[in-house]
Amino acid sequence: MATRATCAKSDTILRQILRDILALDEDRVAAFTSDTGLFGHLPELDSMAVASLLTEIEDRFDIMIEDDEVDGDMLETYGALLAFVEARRTAS
């Protein structure tokens, strides 16, 4: 089971990745909530950026993401993406 500390760490790393990839300023990313929309809501997050985002998530969290797992739901909101990462970290 993911501990609160692990979740907090995942949250920090994921915000850092989004900041790095989308060149967003720190305050904007810090203000993301679970409901903040990602794909389709952030113009910076185009298809190429999605590919970079997933690869960077694989690298920094040491997980593998398969083609079938990449769908609109997973990238719909910040909360959904964080939940996906947490679930994969717990499983691995």
């Binding site: 900041r19 790095d20 990839i21 989308l22 060149a23 910076e44 997050l45 185009d46 298809s47 190429m48 950026a49 999605v50 590919a51 970079s52 997933l54 690869t55 960077e56 690298d59 083609d67 990449v70």
Partner: protein, 230 residues
Amino acid sequence: MTGIWPCPLDGHEYWFGSDRGRMARLLILPPLFAEANRCRSLLTAMIRQLDDCGIDAFLPDFPGWNESLAPLQKQDLQNWRDAAQAATDHWQITHFLALRGGAELCPPALPGFTVSPLSGKKQLRSMIRAQTILEREAGRHRRSEELLQMGLQDGLTLAGFQIGPAMLRDLLEADAAAHSSAEELTIDALQLSPPWLRAEPGHDPAQAEEMARAICARLGRKLIFNTIEV
């Protein structure tokens, strides 16, 4: 700060840098493919800063890169490794600085630095993933494995880059981004917000200055140490 260099594979290629016959001579091996475009501004600004620090730095085109007229789909990693070695010999390079996929091209006998080295295998995975997303948006559902198999036969266009079967095979097998004698400079140590991840290329003179300062400090130490050893 620009010129043509005698790249052995196709006769001549463009280069950017400073050559004032100084003791420290740095070959820059940039990230590959789309990541190269995102870093070019940073690297050219860094070269100007290195010039001010007394370091000669060279950012050459290899066949299929940047201004090169050579077709990218005819290239493979070995071509580029040969070009890196030829550039090293041509300019009497003393050290390399390899970023991301550029780490796959480091001349084996040369000391140097890597920044977030990326293996060919991981590079290819990311590029094929981007293509599967683009294909899906166009209403075609192709899996990564399917695209790869097609590419190994006929080549693939990935994010606008035409990659031939030989390059795909090389990238698939390239898993040795870590250079045994290279010092890895971390993005934290360089206080770098990774420009190769940026969706749009940016211009950040402060980061270029920070990178140049870090390299000057390390190269200065190495050169002094080598002189004492001799």
